[in-house]
Each structure stands twice: as structure tokens, then as C-alpha cells.
Symmetry: C2
Subunit: 220 residues, 2 copies
């Protein structure tokens, strides 16, 4: 019955700047929150994966997930699946759950895409003359979205009132893509600190780092 332990995919090596940032961290964090052991299926970040892997993860990314029920991909969907049977990730109270589901999507659909170009364009297109203007054009939307999240959070500890999958994803997004912009919002700074102080996050982070066991790829 080995399939009763879920398997997630992750990379066996990434460059330093990406360590602790790869998205299997979200799935690991969710599994750690509910105390569910898991295995990792490690793949190489800089090699094409084969058809078998793409059948599991159609975008050839990580994480993919498999358990006794079936297979899936997308970190938000994996948290949803885990939360369907565990109220520590999706609250049992139906109205609270609706809020958690809303924020789970909001983090990925309304917040991440607003922040992402600001942190990633300068990284992936370094030195290109159009990047500064493109980032500046994105800034007002990103600022507005962060303000909206801070306002909605208000004095609450967590987005849906109690901790949920939505906080895992929102904290991941703020941590990976929020950069210095977060610092204009004391409520978001405190929220992020609160989330990252959770033992489940710390275990998930360490587990991702521990899996980078391979040698760097040969330079071509």
C-alpha cells in the first residue's frame, strides 16, 4: 500500500537564487500542516523531462502530486485537494470555507500576476532597455493590489479569519514576488512573519533545501 503516502515532484538542484523559492514548497507546506508524510520524486531542472512526466505535469514543471486517489498538478489545486479532507487547510464552516476558497484563488489570480513582472522581468531580461519602463507601468496595479490585501486582512491574523490554504499561497506569493513593496504595508509584513514562523513552513523549507543533493549541471 505504498500509494497511501503521497508523492510530489521536486528538483534535485537549482541555482542559489531559486533555493527555497521553488513551488513544490507550497505542496510541502500543506502536507506539513496536516502532518501527512510524503515522498519526493526528484527531477533535473535543466533537462527536458520525458513523456511520462509531462503526462503527470503537462507544463513540465514542479510540483506534480500523486496519491491513492489520483494524480494532479498546480500547487493551488494540490492544497485544495488536501483541504477537501482536512479542515486545517479548508475550514469546515461553510461560509468561512467560501472565504478561504476565494483567497486561495485571489492569491494566485489577482495578486501574483500583479507582482510577478516586477520581480521577474529584471531577473529574466536583465540589461534590456525596455524593462525599466515595463516594471514602472506595472507598479500602480501591484501597489493597489497589496493595499487591497492589507485592507481586507485588517486586524485579522489570517485571510479567512482562521489559518487556511489561502494563507500558504498568499504567504508564498508575498515572499517570492513582493520584494520591497511589502515594506510599505506593516500589516502585510506582520502577516508574512506570522506565516513564515509556522513550524510547518520551516519544515517544508528545510525539506526543499535538503533535496538539492545533485551536482550542478555541466556548463555547455
Amino acid at each position: 500500500m505504498s500509494e497511501t503516502i503521497p508523492t510530489i515532484s521536486a528538483f534535485d538542484w537549482v541555482p542559489d537564487f531559486a533555493r527555497g523559492q521553488v513551488r513544490d514548497l507550497v505542496a510541502r507546506w500543506g502536507l506539513e500542516e496536516i502532518g501527512r508524510p510524503y515522498r519526493t520524486h526528484l527531477i533535473h531542472a535543466f533537462e527536458e523531462r520525458g513523456e511520462d512526466y509531462v503526462a503527470w505535469q503537462p507544463f513540465d514543471q514542479v510540483p506534480a502530486y500523486r496519491d491513492e486517489t489520483g494524480e494532479m498538478f498546480e500547487s493551488g489545486a494540490i492544497l485544495l485537494h488536501l483541504g477537501n479532507t482536512d479542515e486545517r487547510l479548508l475550514p469546515a464552516d461553510p461560509a468561512t470555507r467560501m472565504q478561504a476558497e476565494s483567497w486561495l484563488f485571489a492569491a494566485l489570480s489577482s495578486v501574483e500576476p500583479a507582482l510577478r513582472p516586477i520581480s521577474l522581468l529584471p531577473l529574466f531580461h536583465a540589461g534590456k532597455d525596455w524593462v525599466g519602463a515595463a516594471v514602472a507601468a506595472q507598479q500602480p496595479l501591484a501597489e493597489k493590489r497589496l493595499q487591497r490585501v492589507a485592507d481586507a486582512l485588517g486586524d485579522k491574523d489570517w485571510l479567512a479569519g482562521q489559518f487556511s490554504a489561502a494563507d500558504i499561497v498568499m504567504a508564498f506569493v508575498l515572499r517570492s514576488f513582493g520584494g520591497q513593496m511589502i515594506n510599505d504595508h506593516p500589516r502585510l509584513v506582520a502577516y508574512l512573519e506570522r506565516a513564515l514562523a509556522r513550524p510547518a513552513f520551516q519544515r517544508a523549507l528545510q525539506a526543499q533545501l535538503d533535496d538539492f543533493t545533485a551536482q550542478p549541471p555541466l556548463q555547455s
Copy 2:
């Protein structure tokens, strides 16, 4: 017991280019697929909404959703909520449901953000000299994601094998943000035609158009 009929928010007027593209279309489509009547709460697109609305929809956008159970926002979350109690939106078979959940997130998190800059930057930053280079830099990722979706769809009619909420969102994303790029992928063209031919989509589209009953805002 008026709350047994769900309410969604929508705009009472938008410019021609946005008609039939506003995201309440996704919620309407889901409601139409399961034959659930709904009311609309119409708001003005070009006026700040008040605190009451922002408490319902934290990003001051549409759609927001309310039913006898609670309140929510984010079109993907609304479909998920409707699908939790109706297998026409989320398949009853657990493994198939995992695929539908994966694709629901994939459409919003992996496909839309790759396509969106290509269609929206030239619209919202028309005439700016950096836009051409920014769009060109985005093109390879967008092409790759579309190819991955086409490959994963293969000969299937729908992403999870049977029609689901994932197809509503993916069809919305391809229709609104795919532009001419779709035409390189005959499978995606056929998929989109299949989705948009559904009577539920046609009713949802007409209902959005019929709600644009207000006069255009005064030019300032």
C-alpha cells in the same frame, strides 16, 4: 427565502471592446450549466464603489457572489463552490475531479498570466515605445503554454475527459487573451468552438450583454 437564489455582481455599462469579456461571464456560465437561476447586483464600472462593496469584493472588481451559505469572490472560486455540490461542474469520480481541479487552477495560474500581457499591454499602454519589446519577450512562454495545453488535450473533448469548471475558465482565457496565437493550434480552435457552442455559454453571454442598460458615463 430570497437568499436561495444566488446574487452575482456585474457592471451596468462598459465600453464596446469589453462587452462580452467581463469576468462575471465565468460565474454566469457556471450557473447556466447547472440551471441555477441568479440575480445580478449591477454596479458602475467607472465609479469608486463604497466600503460595503469592497467588503464583499476586496479588489473592487466583478464578480462577487452571495448565496444562502455565504459570500465569495474570484470567478474560479465561485465555480469551485458551485461544483462542490454539482458534478456537472466538478466530476464525481475522485481521480477525474483531481484533474478538473488541476486544470481549473492551471487556466488561471499557468495559462492566463502567460497570455495576458500579449493582449493587454498594447491595449493599456498604446503607443509606448517599450510595449513591442515587452510583448515579444513574453511570446515564447505564451506559445509554449498553448502548445502544452493542446498536447494535454490531445483527442479529448474536454480537459478532464468530461466537461467541467476547468473548461469554462480555460475557454474564457483562450477567448479573451489568446488572440491570433490560438490559430496555430487546430485542437485549441476546435476546443474553443466546442465550448462556446454550449447553450449555457450563449445564455451567459446574452445575459451579460443584456445587463449593459446604463448610459455611458459623462466624459470629464
